[in-house]
């Protein structure tokens, strides 16, 4: 990982909400980011099943999509979410970490388009998928 990408990783892991959820960036380069969020009983949305709240999955998806945009060579700096849609395919298995891979697949002068998928330990069956549009900043 280059210095720039190391800095991007540190920046994302230092965002107060991402840090509070224990997110770790395992890779971030060329518009692709992979981020993991450990299981945490504070994030349970259904107390009967122990399944993590969709809201916490949204936070992970949003962070990972933003990270992918920041690491894209055509984006000059920061970014903000314009629109994010998440499809929830199944509940994440209680006790397991959730990992998201986001790919910034197209960038114009003003908008970055991103898609992402999230898994728990069962990598053949995604937990959720997302598509989003993000702002492009710092480019003339």
């Amino acid at each position: 990982m280059s210095d720039l990408l190391t800095r991007a990783r540190q920046f994302i892991e230092a965002l107060p909400h991402s840090r509070d959820l224990g997110m770790t960036v395992s890779s971030i380069e060329d518009g692709v980011a992979v981020i993991t969020m450990p299981f945490d009983p504070r994030l349970v949305g259904d107390p009967e099943t122990g399944v993590i709240s969709g809201g916490a999955v949204s936070a992970l998806m949003d962070t990972c999509c933003g990270a992918a945009v920041m690491s894209h060579p055509d984006n000059g700096g920061g970014t903000a979410t314009l629109d994010l849609r998440i499809d929830y395919m199944r509940g994440a298995t209680p006790g397991q970490a959730i990992t998201t891979r986001a790919e910034c697949y197209h960038v114009t002068r003003s908008v970055a388009f991103v898609r992402a998928t999230a898994w728990d330990d069962d990598t053949d069956n995604p937990v959720a998928s997302a598509t989003g549009a993000f702002t492009v900043e710092g480019k003339r």
């Binding site: 009983p41 936070a59 920061g78 994010l84």
Partner: protein, 166 residues
């Protein structure tokens, strides 16, 4: 004609039901989210907290927090409206000591958030409107604002699978 119930009895019953619905969800407690009730109308209230910040330079609420806030408001409002008749008829008893088995919460199928302006580092509010509630599926729209009710900072639409009656 039947005498109307004393107002305190009505309020106590509705508030106990709301607490039963909200208090046992760890993620709602984690966010610090509470619900303000006026009759059957609920408003989600998210008090500002440092841990909810995404970009510390602006600073702004984390986009994921905004999404989570709107989604939880949608789920609780949907569940509340689904339980309302049973709460009013007294067929669900929410006495603090009573061990009531609540129906399961609706499950999110998809949730689409429209970010209109950045979330400021202060309290946020949200209200959901149920556009369609069928036996199996529901479609809900949620609006989130901060200082001005007319200046939304985010809005969202989601689809949910309804729980089956026990």
């Amino acid at each position: 004609m039947k005498r109307p119930e004393p107002v305190q009895v009505v309020k106590q019953r509705r508030d106990a039901a709301l607490h039963a619905l909200v208090d046992h969800v760890p993620y709602i407690k984690y966010l610090g989210l509470t619900f303000d009730r006026r009759g059957d109308e609920l408003t989600g209230v998210l008090p500002f907290d440092e841990k909810l910040i995404g970009n510390p330079m602006l600073p702004a609420l984390h986009g994921g927090v905004t999404a989570a806030f709107l989604e939880v408001t949608a789920i609780i409002t949907l569940s509340w409206s689904y339980l309302w008749e049973d709460i009013e008829s007294g067929s669900l008893d929410f006495d603090p000591g009573g061990d009531v088995r609540l129906p399961r919460l609706p499950k999110t199928v998809d949730f689409s958030v429209d970010y209109l302006r950045s979330g400021l580092p202060r309290d946020a509010y949200a209200r959901a409107r149920i556009n369609r509630a069928g036996r199996r599926y529901a479609s809900v729209h949620v609006e989130g604002w901060q200082d001005n009710r007319d200046k939304l900072f985010a809005q969202a639409t989601g689809h949910f699978v309804m729980p089956q009656r026990r």
